[in-house]
């Protein structure tokens, strides 16, 4: 096999590198549903100060799982990840700054 032929079958379709068996996706979806169940259960429990950080961590886990595994960003070209996370990080920074301007975090 020549170098060119090798490229034809791999780099032309990088997404096939992230192709997993269906059972893998079903397990991931089950894990996401389980985390959602925990989130809802926490809503009805009284956790006090722990409630918000736990909820945010669970949200982040779900978010990154869908982006990395269902959207194949973990296995795909880094350029795609860079484009998406640039927009995401920019959004977070801009709106956290905006909320700070309105004193959202100090309850003002």
């Amino acid at each position: 096999m020549t170098t060119t032929e090798h490229i034809d079958h791999t780099e032309a379709h990088p997404e096939t590198h992230g192709h997993k068996p269906n059972s893998f996706y079903i397990k991931v979806a089950a894990a996401l549903a389980f985390i959602t169940g925990i989130e809802v259960a926490l809503y009805y429990l009284t956790l006090g100060a722990w409630y918000l950080p736990i909820l945010l961590v669970l949200m982040l886990i779900k978010f990154l799982t869908v982006v990395s595994l269902f959207m194949h960003l973990k296995y795909d070209n880094r350029m795609f990840a860079m484009l998406f996370y640039s927009g995401l990080i920019l959004a977070v920074l801009v709106y956290v700054a905006a909320l700070m301007t309105f004193r959202f975090f100090d309850g003002g």
Binding site: T3, T4, I7, D8, H9, E11, A12, H13, P14, E15, T16, H19, N22, Y25, I26, V28, A29, L32, A33, T36, E39, V40, L42, Y43, L52, L55, L56, L58, M59, K62, F63, V66, V67, F70, M71, N77, M79, F80, L83, F84, Y85, S86, G87, L88, L90, A91, V92, V94, Y95, A98, L99, F102, F104
Partner: protein, 210 residues
């Protein structure tokens, strides 16, 4: 860029063109996919603005019902679960498309559209019940920001459903332009994005008390 790397990039572009994908000879990446990721990155800014506005105004509902009186957590939890499962069926559609199984691809795309429709139906029911409780779009700053945020998301889901059903029709007639698996994947990316936005909305809007 060295001559060898340039030659490799051209080879990648030619190989992908043979499959019908529009690949840049410079990057070796699909232009369509690059554009979709760029679009999704920009969508983060749109939804970031809407979520921030809601967070600022969620307590501004003097004289009218607020989040604590309105939220129906069991209903929203079920609709969140439905949307989450639609992400599973979407990724199964992408898998089927990559295996060139048109029948299975259409089945999973249709199931995804059906789950998406269930989610939109639940949202319409929720909006209607809020309206009957006296909370309309212009009732308070809280209601305006809430309806704008969740309404924008609902429109995105509806657009996704239209794209899914259109794709089923196009695949059935074997008239998909370019690489079929890539087209399914691109619509899949949009659908998953709609799901991750809801993951954030469900936590920040519904589960965190105002």
């Amino acid at each position: 860029m060295s001559e060898a790397t340039l030659a490799e990039s051209h080879a990648v572009a030619h190989a992908a063109d043979a499959h019908g994908a529009h690949v840049s000879p410079t990057t070796g990446l699909s232009n369509n996919k690059l554009a979709m990721w760029l679009f999704l990155g920009s969508e983060c800014l749109l939804f970031g603005g809407l979520i921030s506005t809601y967070m600022l105004y969620r307590g501004r509902h003097t004289g009218s019902p607020g989040p604590a009186q309105l939220w129906d957590i069991p209903l929203t939890s079920v609709s969140s679960f439905v949307l989450l499962m639609s992400s599973l069926t979407m990724v199964l559609a992408v898998s089927a498309a990559q295996e060139r199984d048109d029948r299975l691809t259409c089945i999973w795309l249709s199931v995804t559209a059906l789950l998406g429709s269930t989610f939109v139906g639940a949202q319409v029911y929720e909006f209607t019940s809020f309206y009957h409780e006296g909370v309309g779009f212009t009732t308070s700053l809280f209601s305006s920001s809430f309806f704008t945020l969740t309404g924008f998301h609902g429109i995105h889901v509806t657009v996704g459903i239209i794209m899914l059903m259109s794709l089923v029709g196009i695949i059935s007639r074997s008239k998909v332009p370019g690489d079929k698996a890539e087209v399914v994947e691109l619509i899949g990316l949009y659908w998953h994005f709609v799901d991750i936005v809801w993951i954030v909305i469900f936590t920040l809007v519904y589960l965190i008390p105002a």
